[in-house]
Symmetry: C2
Subunit: 306 residues, 2 copies
């Protein structure tokens, strides 16, 4: 369902990039933080305030060339409920600026508890007769370890609110193979998860050949990425690990469908911290992020042509 | 490390129970909710206010007989940042009343991101020169699918702040076997996870023969519970699925170490909603919860004797 909206936004900008909003304090320019500290002291509230203003500036600078953002919830939860307020306001601001928002929360639980997460991040929470949006993202990352009991409640909310999910499959980190690559019968575990994801996705058919249940598959494992694409031609791939983690455009071209469909490629630090990497003055952080995002878009476009 | 504190509290009360605080609105007595609605309207803020007051009353009623509580984060996140504020205040109130708090968040991510979750739930968040507690629980549930990269950052924070974790191993839900029971080589996946958990726990030795990395193993699978105990004599088991999900005291006695050590058994709905189950007037909800908790304690004590 709602991954159709992502596909449309990617196509409109000819850019399959999602910018990770993982706002560690050391990524935020000093002049932004100083304003927050002056107002709130060196507190969680100040940190959350700085995070929100940093994010809004990045969204302003990127929303006409990048179709999506992916806030990583851990970097908001670390600032307590003030951080969660900044998360909600970041999501609202990005959607207001027509960006597709993937909440990277990797949530997982069972039955009614997973339904509560689905309401929190994708649907609405009922308080008697009133319906309320808690975080209201467009899609959510989830962990498959609990099996279908952890996914079906999500697909029901996705169907109702036209939203989507991405199931962790083959993650980008060095130790992902400890469990994910273990061979179970004839297939590695990540491939069994991929097949479950495809089955779950049948509940959420889409207009453009991709359903509402995508998978997460890291750019750092191009061989597995190619095997996954071969086996799952109709599944969206959320691809982390590009840029700072080492994945290159040519590593992920194998996952592209026709005209760069079927993938959304994440870069976080390389774009958020472009000003640090290129030695640009802090006040130029939005322009540096924009330049880096355009370079990534062009690299992906070139890889898609080859 | 900090699971020693849990072991001491269990021993002092001769009661290996943790009460789940999963405060769905329909569990909360009407007179509590009405007060919140009158003050805040039918909003997320009102719901979070009702949740907090419900939790505080339960904590008051239980803290001299039950050693631990386990707030399930989904039921706070569904009320947005107001809910997360209620979560932080629930944790603070329970710890102030000498209860051990397990944040049931099932978090999972890699490297610095997992470190951010660890800071959020177990450690402290630095804002320049100030150290701040975001949620400050005593232990956290985590998902193992990402491998060691998702666990090592936690054990480092646990060592520093004397806290513990519980790794999902064999969960209590019907579909847990879809992935967890798959046989990989000679062992089912859940047993491979158990062995990893034991290895991770070597970094956090404890005083009483149990280390700081426990596992989650459901009361609904007594056979697997027995196999896990046989293989992991020195690991704490967090056991959900007791009561409302069908697990009985005799089903879990196989997991007990000497004098009821080595386990912490969760019950949520059966205690929170005891007043509904037994047809007690709403105003008697704390006494009903206490009576139910004492019955559970006595059932566990009896099972341990057999």
């Amino acid at each position: 369902m709602s991954l159709d909206l992502l596909i449309e936004k990617v196509a409109a900008m000819s850019n399959p990039t999602v910018v990770g909003l993982d706002p560690r304090l050391e990524y935020i320019p000093g002049f932004i933080k100083e304003q927050s500290y002056q107002r709130f002291g060196k507190t969680l509230e100040a940190a959350a305030d700085a995070v929100l203003r940093f994010n809004k500036s990045l969204i302003d600078a990127l929303c006409d060339t990048v179709p999506a953002v992916k806030p990583q919830c851990a970097y908001y939860e670390m600032f307590g409920w003030h951080g969660m307020k900044a998360l909600a306001e970041t999501i609202e601001y990005a959607r207001y600026n027509n960006m597709f928002v993937i909440a990277d929360a990797k949530r997982n639980d069972i039955g009614p508890t997973m339904e509560a997460y689905a309401q929190a991040y994708l649907g609405q929470t009922e308080v008697e007769t009133s319906s309320n949006e808690a975080f209201n993202a467009d899609a959510l990352t989830v962990n498959p370890y609990l099996g279908s009991d952890g996914i079906i409640p999500l697909t029901e909310i996705c169907a109702k609110f036209d939203k989507g999910i991405f199931v962790l499959c083959k993650t980008s980190n060095p130790s992902s193979g400890e469990l994910q690559d273990i061979v179970c019968g004839e297939l590695p575990l990540y491939m069994l998860v991929a097949e479950l994801a495809e089955k779950w996705g049948e509940q959420l058919p889409g207009k453009y050949g991709y359903n509402g249940v995508g998978i997460v598959a890291g750019a750092t494992y191009p061989e597995q990425l190619a095997r996954l694409r071969e086996r799952l031609p109709n599944t969206m791939f959320l691809i982390p690990g590009y840029g700072a983690q080492g994945g290159q455009a040519q590593d992920i071209a194998c996952a592209f469908g026709r005209e760069m469909t079927g993938v959304i490629v994440n870069s976080s630090r390389a774009i958020m911290c472009a000003y640090q990497k290129h030695g640009v003055p802090e006040t130029g952080f939005t322009q540096a992020a924009r330049t880096e995002a355009i370079a990534m878009r062009d690299a992906l476009r070139n890889a898609a042509k080859q």
